[in-house]
Amino acid sequence: MSNLLPRSTELAELTRHRVLAFLRQPEGVFWVFAFPLLLSAVLGFAFQGGEPAPSRVGVVGDLGGWVARLEADPRIELERFATRVEADQRLAGGHLDALVLGVAPAALRLDPGRAEAEVARLRVLVAVGEVEEDQLAIDPVTERGARYVDFLFPGLLGMNLLGTGLWSVGFAVADMRQRKVLKRFLVTPMRRSSFLASLITARLAFLAGELILLTAFGVWVLDVPLRTSVFTFAALTVLGAVGSSTLGLLVASRTKTIEGVSGLVNLVIVPMWLGSGVFFSYERFPEAIHPLLRLLPLTALNDALRAGMIDGAGLGQMLPELAVLTAWMVIPFFLALRVFRWA
């Protein structure tokens, strides 16, 4: 049926309307353009590498001449205590990584469950000469593509694509439903498909600006690699943006209020922030649930973005991820078409 397809004039006007309404709303512009940039800047600079933080180590009393040696080590931040009780309190409160009780042989009190405590122990042992520095010689990783920021940036990009699509489409639909504008459209000959498609085309219009800004920042300021072709990168982001918009459409297909949409979007998005490998690899979760996590749209998007940006993979090398993303684009769209409530 030809009238299932959007009509070009009304699609163009609906898209124009959405873009104008969005650009004239300073809050919206901030959340879509400025906030992701700010977040990437803060996180990017925080994890850009450089010297790791010093270990916070406590000592009670004098320990003979050893205190001076600990104090001289730049990797140790020493705090002295008059009594053991005081020192134990600081340790229990998490203000200290380790407490040195004796030297030669070294006796340390620490929480073995904390990685920082292990680091502190090693540094103390090196400082007091129980472990030789050259026994620990390393070959440091400094290349682009292997630093934490290189891992983090594609994750932030993916998170941003998902979030913007969900929020912008979800809010726009709930707002128009609340204003009875949807109902008003329904008594005109406007094709419903034009309206639904316009939400996605408007999203793609913002995407270009948002993406150029963020990617330029990542590549030029944070020095994150972009090794795949521009085509692959653009295709991935378009897929991510369209997929998140259709998900937004589904989330808002029946919700009557902005608050309702807010809740639902959070319900969708927060688990993915944790489980889809934005800040840390999802491989830290039990292996049994990895296949499930890989079915999440953000996991697929992040994995594909990382494969492209860091490893230089082309579209042909990320077919499973592309399949997951496509499924998340098509299924919610048709589901949304079925359950969408106009009035």
Binding site: E13, K180, P189
Partner: protein
């Protein structure tokens, strides 16, 4: 003019146990204006939304401009203009941008400058919707309904919440549309609106038609020359008895509301004279006494015992 602009027969809509519209029959000839008059909750909006194709009736048939919703919904939508109650248009776009959007939905339509002129928003064309007053917003909403040059215009409570001046401007626009041959169906709970705009009124209460005809004919059905409202001074009203009032010359109906009385009279001069004599006889002091020509409101009160604005 054999095909009416609108015809509805046996229209029924139920919401759970509530029958909102109960067997309504409507017919509207081209070039005429019909007002559905009734209090809030009478079923006016449900009725008009069924006619507009927004709500599916549980029973009955609707024919709009010779077409039915099930066979030619798009053909109907191309030819009608609709103003809904409580639509709040997108605030960040301008008047002209809003009109352009609505214009893009229709195959044919009129020049936007012309529509702006008709609704008196030419000098507001580049103003954002958020800066418009209530009356201007309502006129923009009318403009959105007029961009397609509709044959039939549906207006759901077009002036509710507007100040008197803004209401008059809306009336002028609707009257202008009618003058050019357009057909209008409107709902209202303002009797003056119905009297001013409508060729015919249909008074609805609890989903049923309780009176219909031209405003003059409906008012004439009261057989009243005027309505007398009597407010006795505190306490003295107890001395009045309905049957005694009804026995006065020219009084055809007596109704109490709190301490006040409303009399429907067929001979104003004789009745008021007799009434004043009677009040003196029984020792009732007057707070106020008013007479006015009967209105649609009085018909509604006479038929239902309720006011339209309740």
């Amino acid at each position: 003019m054999s095909v009416p602009a609108l015809r509805a027969t046996g229209l029924v809509k139920r919401f759970g146990d509530l029958t909102a519209v109960d067997g309504l029959e409507l017919e509207l000839a081209r070039g005429m204006c019909l007002a559905l008059l009734g209090p809030n909750g009478a079923g006016k909006t449900t009725t008009i939304e069924m006619l507009e194709g927004l709500t599916r009736p549980d029973a009955g048939e609707i024919e709009i401009l010779g077409r039915t919703w099930s066979t030619d919904a798009e053909g109907i939508r191309e030819r009608i203009g609709v103003q809904l109650q409580e639509t709040r248009l997108q605030e960040k776009v301008t008047v002209l941008e809003t009109l352009r959007l609505f214009r893009s939905f229709y195959r044919d339509g009129r020049d936007l400058a012309e529509v702006l002129e008709v609704v008196g928003l030419t000098d507001k064309r580049d103003a954002r919707v958020e800066t418009l007053s209530g009356g201007q917003h309502q006129r923009l909403s009318l403009a959105c309904a007029l961009v397609s040059r509709p044959e039939l215009l549906f207006l759901d409570e077009p002036t509710t919440g507007l100040d008197p001046q803004a209401r008059r401007r809306v009336w002028e626009i609707v009257a202008g549309f009618k003058q050019e041959g357009g057909t209008v169906l409107l709902t209202t709970h303002y009797m003056d609106e119905a009297e001013r705009l409508a060729d015919d009124v249909v008074i609805i209460d609890a989903g049923k038609i309780i009176a219909k005809g031209s405003p003059a004919a409906v008012i004439g059905s009261l057989h009243a020359e005027s309505i007398v409202e009597l407010h006795p001074r505190d306490g003295t009203g107890d001395r009045l008895v309905d049957s005694a009032l009804l026995a006065l010359r020219g009084v055809s109906e007596v109704r109490r509301e709190g301490s006040a009385f409303t009399l429907v009279v067929t001979d104003t001069q004789a009745s008021v004279g007799a009434l004043l004599g009677h009040l003196t006889d029984v020792g009732v002091e007057l707070e106020s006494l008013q007479t006015h020509s009967p209105t649609l409101e009085d018909v509604f009160v006479a038929l239902t015992g309720k006011h339209l604005r309740e």
